[in-house]
């Protein structure tokens, strides 16, 4: 695997199957997720394509909601209606369902922001020219997971005090008797250490894998576009289309799952310990 961190295109476009110039198939890999900085130096400050997409995505989300909700009307226009439907989906469909209306109301803005942010970052994957899911760079899911984690932890200890919060996180239950220390250890490990990690990695890995698959079929379509290979290329291209549709679905699902988990964490924090 050639790990050229400065590579911009995911593959060498001059290379085809059955050519005598000796080049081979270069599959996608980690190098596909590394970008030459648009500005600066990778050792210090720099600015690259995912960063640009992240900021651009933010502006798009803000722009969308700005246009829809800046001067909202009692009788909504089409645009406002669409935005309201999205807002209502997160509010009722996720937050109220998990945390409940009374406790959840306060967390609606955060969850709505996370949902649309994650979804937008995922959507970049199939936006022409951009064609890269920002969330397949671990930093972006990690930041979001960290925000949720900090809120979750501070809320837990604020609600239940230090001891109560600890009991809440470790699933303290007297009736367990002898196995209680073991359960508490596992629960502590699972809740406090593993959860934020899996929270971030779940999103990252899904988008990473999805993008890799798309790349694989795209590169293969191009690579096999020579001689008899054209037939295989066609199959591969059909897969590109199919996977793009599938990615569209996965992007929304992952945004949903990410927010759902965040809500479940917070619900655990505000809930009375069982």
């Amino acid at each position: 695997m050639s790990a050229d961190p400065t590579q911009v295109l995911a593959f060498d476009p001059s290379c085809h199957i059955f050519q005598s110039n000796g080049c081979g198939f270069e599959g996608p890999g980690l190098h596909s997720f590394l970008f030459e900085p648009l500005w600066g130096d990778t050792n210090g400050l720099y600015f690259n394509k995912p960063m640009l997409l992240a900021l651009l995505g933010s502006i798009i989300i803000v722009g969308f909601f700005w246009a829809a909700f800046r001067k909202p009307k009692l009788v909504p226009g089409k645009f406002q209606m669409v935005a309201e439907a999205g807002y209502d989906f997160v509010r009722r469909g996720i937050v109220y369902e998990t945390i409940g209306k009374k406790e959840g109301e306060k967390w609606v803005p955060l969850m709505v922001s996370i949902f649309f942010f994650v979804w937008m970052m995922n959507l970049w994957s199939i936006v022409p020219v951009a064609q890269f899911p920002v969330t397949s760079i671990i930093a972006y899911p990690a930041v979001l997971a960290l925000v949720v984690y900090v809120i979750w932890m501070s809320l837990t200890f604020k609600r239940h005090g230090f001891v109560g919060g600890f009991k809440n996180l470790t699933g303290y239950d007297k009736s367990l008797g002898g196995v209680l220390p073991l359960v508490m250890t596992i629960e502590f490990f699972s809740n406090v250490l593993v959860r934020p990690f899996t929270h971030a990695v779940r999103l990252f890995a899904n988008m990473f894998a999805g993008h890799t698959l798309l790349l694989l079929f795209t590169i293969a379509s191009w690579y096999m576009l020579n001689g008899i290979g054209i037939a295989y290329s066609g199959v591969s291209f059909v897969m590109v289309i199919v996977m793009t549709g599938f990615e569209l679905f996965i992007q929304a699902v992952q945004a949903y799952v990410f927010v759902l988990l965040a809500c479940v964490f917070i619900q655990g924090a505000v809930a009375e310990h069982h």
Partner: protein, 178 residues
């Protein structure tokens, strides 16, 4: 894998800090706008809309209640009017009957009156005719008798007494025959 982990930049699970900062910044932009301005905006409108809808429903309910009461009122009034009309009709019928009865009685009375008057008139006429006849017959008879006996029987007192006596006899005869 060990090699990748050692290199850091190559490990996809180790986030470089500039990307963390940009990620956080991007998210804060979204969260800031949505949480501080746009979502409160839409929440206000959603609340207003809910109130408007609830208010509308209340208004509709009030209107329906009012319509119901007005309908009841109209129905009551209509029933009353019908009742009144029936009563009036009944009264008119009764009055008509009474009037007809009265008129019939009056007619009967007038008829009888007219008949009675007619009878009296006939009686009076008869009497006058009889009286006049008696005078005429007396005069004719006297004239005739005077011519026959050649002497004037113009002495009124005598003449009248004789005629009356004669006619009285005649009437008596007629009475006797009848």
């Amino acid at each position: 894998m060990v090699q990748l982990a050692a290199e850091g930049k190559e490990n996809p699970l180790v986030p470089p800090w500039p990307e963390l900062v940009i990620g956080l910044l991007a998210f804060v932009i979204v969260f800031g706008f949505l949480a501080k301005k746009l979502l409160p905006n839409i929440n206000k409108v959603l609340d207003e809309r809910r109130e408007a809808i609830e208010g509308g429903i209340e208004k509709a309910e009030a209107a329906q209640t009012e319509a119901q009461s007005v309908l009841e009122q109209y129905k009551a009034q209509l029933a009353e009017a019908r009742h009144e009309a029936a009563r009036l009709r009944q009264e008119a019928t009764e009055q008509g009957t009474a009037l007809i009865q009265e008129m019939r009685a009056e007619g009967q009375r007038q008829r009888e009156e007219i008949i009675a008057a007619g009878h009296a008139q006939i009686e009076a006429d008869r009497k006058a005719a009889a009286h006049s006849l008696r005078q005429d017959v007396g005069k004719l008879a006297t004239d005739l008798a005077g011519k026959l006996v050649g002497e004037s029987l113009e002495d009124h007192a005598r003449q009248s007494r004789t005629i009356d006596r004669f006619l009285g006899e005649l009437e008596e005869k007629a009475e006797a025959v009848r």
